[in-house]
Amino acid sequence: MAARDGGVSCLRRTEMIGIGIGELESPPSDSDQVHVLAVDDSLVDRIVIERLLRITSCKVTAVDSGWRALQFLGLDDDKASVEFDRLKVDLIITDYCMPGMTGYELLKKIKESTSFREVPVVIMSSENVMTRIDRCLEEGAEDFLLKPVKLADVKRLRSYLTRDVKVSADGNKRKLVEDLSNFSSPVTTSPPPLSTSTSMESSESTRPSSPVGFISSSPESSTSPVDSPIRRREMKSLGLD
């Protein structure tokens, strides 16, 4: 079905186009560009998230279901996906409530895979349900965004992603993702102090490369000891666990 080289991702994109799934990015011209896989069953939301990501200089592949996402990643069968070594996905952002496969189920499948378990997965939801957020973070989600998603939210994601890619050898990146799965304080994207997020946006340049642990509150880090994103801090200080 697929050529066993970099062409395979192009083939799958063509397949996607053939069945009329969302918009797809053009063939990679800059391998340093962040590539995001966006998953949402709502066309309106897909268009918006895609635009949000493109405006922050990401390449975007947008699909309309968890199954399509797995197809794109080559995880839809049980074969070891050796040939997908070159499929570069830097971030997966998915809606939680989707018919068929939920974002949570997709998250689990990604974290179970060998090829993509280190890719950060961000969950989006219109509902601010603590148990849902906790569940996702425990399963290894990087972050949880409350819909409607705003430019500031995407910029925030973008900023820690870039840093991740720049700073880390693979070892560090693995550690970051692994460690963050221990992190359980919920995050939301509708902070009451809207100005805070924008001001944080400019002053917050990094996330810690080691976690804010479940129990402990001070990350041990060789990078600047900036706390995790503003909303986590807010949530913690409000004691809203």
Binding site: L43, V44, V48, C97, S126, K147, L151
Partner: protein, 149 residues
């Protein structure tokens, strides 16, 4: 002059609760490369409205055998997309409709759905007027003013 009209009209739409700051967020995503982004998104939204409302109406028509799960999932979708485009009143009515659906309040659902229908059509007309004003400004060689709400 069109610019003042545009400004005033925009402000009134926010003040009267038709639009909320998510609409502002969408405007941020519009630029010279994507000058029609907002119009395109809201147009998709209105198509969504039509389709989902029609689905719900059909479900509610099956008196005695209403599929409230279907109504519930449709209104959830509509609530989501209205939220994503900043259609504040539509979203609010979806919340009410969802409550009626959750409590299987048939009369409430029917009434609410009618209101959602009226509301989205009203918004559609108003946004069309707004886009027309924008067009007039652009065609007269002007730039669309930034409106601070």
């Amino acid at each position: 002059m069109e610019k003042r009209q545009f400004r005033d009209y925009t402000i009134s739409l926010y003040h009267q609760g038709f639009l909320d700051d998510q609409f502002t967020e969408l405007k941020k995503l519009q630029d010279e490369c994507s000058p029609d982004f907002v119009a395109e998104v809201v147009s998709l939204f209105f198509e969504d409205c039509e389709k989902l409302i029609s689905n719900m109406a059909r479900a509610l028509d099956q008196t005695g055998n209403v599929d409230y799960k279907l109504v519930g999932s449709s209104v959830h979708q509509l609530k989501g997309s209205s939220s994503s485009v900043g259609a504040k009143r539509v979203k609010g009515l979806c919340v009410t409709l969802k409550e009626c659906c959750d409590s299987q309040n048939y009369e409430g659902c029917v009434r609410c759905l009618q209101q959602v229908d009226i509301e989205y059509k009203s918004l559609k007309g108003k946004l069309q007027d707004l886009f027309n004003l924008e067009q007039q400004i652009v065609q007269a060689g002007g730039r669309i003013p930034q409106v601070d709400i």
